[in-house]
């Protein structure tokens, strides 16, 4: 089945190659606009990268089908970073210096972003990071289009406070994203009159959670808030269900189901878990349905799950394209100015607007519940601002900032 999908990808790519010359013939300037893509397509992060790669290919194909940008076709140059940070730097240099791309969309983990962002700053390449993350990047050359904790965590915590109770136990991955998200979980819980009994951090390669499950039972919280990340951590949900805890204490998460957890876990392990994201495949709007259909048509029905990673990548690409059209150029500075002018795009997740001050997005947030290996969208919150990054970053006042702030949660 997966083989079919791979063949599909190849056929798709071949079709793109055939299509490109046709567009060229139509266009004056045959020179294509080059878009770099840096994603892990193999290795531990491969499953995240694959869905983003599907989305960016779809977006590029759509733009080309409409005659390209400024009369020029868009050419996608993709490198598989193989889940290796060294390759991120290497390929970033290659994209900037050898391929001389006009923009780069890519990076998955914050570590990969922070490895390549300086490269693009140094060699003056516009950069889009299309993943939800902990917030805090403040750099005029960079746009971050995914959700940040302020957009989703408070919705999630509000829901748990109202529906489950006031006593929370936080478990999170032991790296920046987990550390910062855990702080936001604590803050919102306390703001809502609740309390956090314990915060536990887990290195990304931990697979044995029995001790923690014991500790949670001892603490008897009303809800477990999880910011666990990656396939190793998925073991927590398995062990939680195996211990028979599933029916006793509910779980809410900002990370569960982002990639393929619903597909790999059994319904009885995942049912009832509450999450908050910028997008769910099940969102019942025409734009969302079209997007899901387009991906499945292009890459086969076996594409596991189309979540925020894919939607944000797709929207990020289109936001960039709108900026290019508005600027009438692929000149980096002109594009940045155009993108700062309040560009927005109606994507699968709803209306997405680039915020000048933070270079992040104002976008919708949703709360969903896992039901029989699908998400049931429970609530939606339109136009959420990236308040966390906004607290530390103002590129209108200080356009020369180039920093990753570690946001202090009070």
């Amino acid at each position: 089945m997966a083989l079919n999908r791979r063949q599909f990808v190849q056929i798709g790519a071949a079709a793109g190659l055939i299509a490109a010359p046709m567009i060229n013939r139509r266009a004056y300037a045959a020179e294509p606009i080059k878009v770099g893509s840096l994603l892990d397509l193999s290795g531990p992060l491969g499953s995240s990268g694959q869905t983003m790669y599907d989305a960016i290919q779809l977006a590029a194909a759509e733009v080309n089908a409409k005659g390209g940008l400024l009369g020029r076709p868009v050419q996608l140059i993709n490198y598989d970073t193989q889940s290796t940070i060294q390759l991120y730097s290497q390929y970033a240099q290659q994209l900037a210096l050898k391929d001389k791309v006009d923009v780069v969309h890519g990076g998955i983990t914050s570590a990969s972003r922070e490895a390549i962002r300086p490269v693009f700053d140094r060699f003056r390449v516009l950069y889009f990071y299309n993943v939800l993350y902990e917030g805090g990047v403040c750099d005029r050359d960079t746009f971050c289009t995914g959700t940040t904790p302020a957009q989703t965590v408070n919705k999630l915590v509000d829901y748990t406070l109202k529906n489950f109770g006031k006593k929370a136990y936080v478990i999170a991955a032991d790296y920046n994203y987990g550390q910062i998200t855990a702080k936001w979980m604590k803050k919102y819980t306390q703001d809502g009159g609740g309390s956090v009994v314990t915060v536990d951090f887990f290195p990304l390669d931990v697979t044995n959670f029995s001790a923690t499950i014991g500790k949670i039972q001892e603490a008897k919280p009303d809800v477990v808030l999880s910011a666990l990340v990656g396939s190793n951590h998925t073991a927590f949900y398995r062990q939680w269900a195996a211990a028979g805890m599933k029916s006793r204490i509910p779980i809410a998460s900002t990370t569960f189901g982002l990639v393929n957890e619903l597909a790999t876990l059994d319904a009885k392990e995942s049912d009832g878990i509450i999450t908050a994201y910028g997008y769910y495949e099940e969102i019942d709007t025409p734009a969302s349905k079209d997007f899901v259909k387009a991906i499945r048509d292009k890459f086969g029905a076996s594409v596991p799950y189309i979540g925020e990673l894919a939607a944000v990548t797709y929207e990020g690409f289109h936001l960039w394209a709108e900026g290019v059209v508005k600027a009438g150029s692929v000149d980096r500075m002109k594009d940045i100015v155009a993108l700062e002018s309040g560009i927005s795009f109606d994507g699968p997740s709803g209306k997405v607007t680039l915020d000048h001050a933070t270079h992040h997005t104002i976008r919708n947030a949703y709360v969903g519940k896992a039901v029989n290996k699908k998400w049931q969208v429970l609530q939606s919150f339109p136009n959420q601002a990236p308040a966390d990054t906004a607290a530390v970053c103002d590129l209108i006042k200080h356009p020369n900032t180039d920093k990753m702030f570690v946001i202090d949660v009070k």
Partner: protein, 346 residues
């Protein structure tokens, strides 16, 4: 194969010349990207040399050269962020890993830990460092004004500068000279060490530890010194690597990194110095090419290449090529007798 402690002034001069030609020639041939790419390959070649030296000559199977590599990178990053000037930071990036190697080496060799377990202990220590550095995401893990950053590592590390002038950082072109110059220096240093009395004893201990001991040499001391030198060189490699990418993260300590170094050495040829250098450059170039295509999974290609390599060229490239060359040169005068290496030594 192992007997070639050093094969003469001629080969040394040729290698040195080739190195210098590459150092000054490549900037005229390559564009900036090519040069940057070669810079990271060269940094990894220095790392491969450290493994090639302690393993190929010292007989110490370290599964943890990446520990010293990572420590070197982190030391440089922390030091340069606090000191401002990079000169002292480089010195520290060599000294600290060397000191750590000395401590670990003392623990292992004077603790009479057997060969096999040296591998396990170094591996374990590396995994410990990986875990520890991965869990430094919290705010309180800050040394001076340098946050360690946990899994995400330390971004935007200031580059090398002209000694004494922190406001004159090296540009990527100059960094190439620094990296390639370091590789040449390390190579010359190791050739010198191997040609010295100390180097002979190190090789002798690898060949037969009991005999060396019965001759009055203390293998523990020689192994300790070899291991320490290897640690310092790996630290230098880490420093160069950090300079190249302006960042360092815990993946420098990862198992995959350690294994990669071993593969560099094996592919190039164990018991040579040129082998690890060529192995490092070739393997990395291959991995880079693999990432530019999306048809076949990258791991699959690397894996199949490695398996094929073991079955077809188990000795590594350099010894095989050397044997072929020697056969070509020596066959006519001597007929069937096996040629003897290393007769042209000084």
């Amino acid at each position: 194969m192992a007997g070639a402690i050093a094969s003469g002034w001629a080969s040394f001069a040729a290698m040195l010349l080739a190195g210098l030609v590459l150092m000054f020639g490549l900037p005229h041939v390559f564009d900036l990207f090519g040069l940057l790419q070669m810079t990271v390959f060269v940094a990894m070649a220095v790392l491969a040399l450290s493994q090639g030296f302690i393993w190929g000559y010292g007989g110490i199977m370290s599964f943890g050269q990446s520990a010293f590599f990572g420590l070197g990178g982190y030391t440089y990053a922390v030091a340069v962020m606090n000191l401002g000037d990079s000169t002292g930071a480089v010195a520290l990036a060599i000294a600290l890993p060397a000191a750590f190697a000395a401590l670990l080496g003392y623990f292992m060799f004077y603790g009479r830990i057997s060969d096999a377990y040296v591998g396990v202990v170094t591996l374990t220590v590396t995994v410990i460092l990986f875990n520890v550095f991965n869990s430094t995401a919290g705010d309180w893990y800050t040394i001076g004004n340098a946050p360690l950053g946990g899994f995400n590592g330390m971004p935007s590390v200031p580059p090398l500068n002209i000694p004494g002038h922190p406001d004159e950082p090296l540009d990527p072109g100059q960094l190439w000279y620094a990296a390639m110059g370091s590789l040449i220096l390390v190579y010359v240093l190791l050739r010198g060490v191997l040609a010295s009395r100390f180097g002979r004893v190190v090789v002798a201990i690898r060949e037969n530890e009991t005999r060396a001991m019965l001759l009055g040499y203390d293998p523990r001391l020689y192994k300790l010194l070899t291991f320490t030198l290897g640690g310092g060189i790996a630290g230098l490699a880490g420093c160069l690597f950090t300079n190249w990418g302006s960042f360092i993260s815990p993946t420098a300590f990862s198992l995959a990194q350690s294994a990669q170094i071993i593969i560099f050495v094996l592919v190039g040829g164990l018991g040579t110095l040129l082998g690890p250098i060529l192995g490092a450059v070739a393997i990395q170039y291959m991995v880079t090419l693999i990432g530019a295509q999306q048809k076949v999974d990258g791991n699959l290609i690397v894996g199949v290449v490695l398996i094929g390599f073991v079955l077809l060229v188990p000795q590594g490239v350099v010894p095989v090529v050397r044997n072929v060359l020697q056969r070509l040169f020596v066959r006519t005068p001597r007929g069937g007798t096996a040629p003897v290496a290393s007769e042209a030594r000084p």
